[in-house]
Symmetry: C2
Subunit: 145 residues, 2 copies
DNA sequence: GGATATTGGTTGGAAATGTAACCAACAAGC
DNA sequence: GCTTGTTGGTTACATTTCCAACCAATATCC
């Protein structure tokens, strides 16, 4: 069409998107097929399991998720009794969320899967490449530009 | 919660997702705010601009997009007169799509923006890191595991 | 020359997401 | 104590996306 050689295949947002989609979809069967969870739900569950009980807004901040997404994910997890909420007495707007026994079991299972999955992905890269990749991704994830 | 130290922050699908979202959102204002386009539309437009006229299914294959997304994106672009379709006589199911003059102008503009945007992103990395990053992303984008 | 696939593409309805408006609990100003 | 603002969180509605069914044109089989 024109003389230049800009390839969308080399456009970083596009490459990142493809890689994210391919790897994310590969892992999704673990939480989707096995537990009927959505990605946001898995993410919320993970944060509670990894960092312990916290409020919804703390999850928003840590996971960089919008509060409506967290609200809905928590509602779904709660309805399936994977998380429980306890309203705080000193400020009744806040509710501390935590995993129930079944939530903790799922967390343990999925975390183990995630570790294995991550290892399989990293196996496509050399150790040094993986290190650089993570470092680049962390920088690119910062907003701005 | 338990004794291990698996960090979701190091889980590759998660890191990829964050980086893809951050960079993708940064660029979206160019096609969204300026032309009211959706990401899929920009992608379709790009493919037609970069690789020349082709059928919808060719776009599906090249861009790795589902046919319903392409169908709707084409419909939207067509209604704004940025692409035109020409039914092929030898097989009337097929229609060759191509950019109109206005579509080509948008392509030229957005391509130029994309190049600049990509440069700004790459500026956060050394030349060698950028090379390795692209190489890793290409490998991770391959399905399977 | 029909029945039966197959293919290119569209459409309809359910699920998910984004945005903004909303509500209830608390905090501050006066 | 009563208006005014903030904050944590939910809800409503519009927009997107996903999946499956669909339609029309061609190819295939007999």
């Amino acid at each position: 069409m024109d003389g230049d050689d800009f390839e969308i295949a080399d456009f970083l947002p596009y490459m990142l998107n493809r890689a994210a989609e391919a790897t994310g979809q590969g892992f999704s069967r673990h939480y989707k097929d096995r537990y009927g969870m959505l990605r946001t739900e898995w993410r919320v569950l993970f944060h509670l399991g990894r960092y312990g009980p916290m409020t919804a807004s703390a999850i928003c901040a840590r996971a960089d998720l919008h509060k409506t997404k967290v609200s809905r994910a928590v509602a779904a997890l709660e309805s399936r009794r994977h998380v429980a909420r306890e309203v705080q007495e000193e400020d009744r707007r806040n509710a501390t969320l935590c995993l129930t026994r079944s939530g903790a079991a799922i967390y343990a299972d999925l975390t183990e899967e995630a570790r294995r999955y991550d290892d399989r992905l990293a196996a496509r890269l050399t150790r040094e490449e993986a290190r650089i990749l993570r470092s680049c991704l962390a920088r690119l994830a910062e907003r701005g530009t």
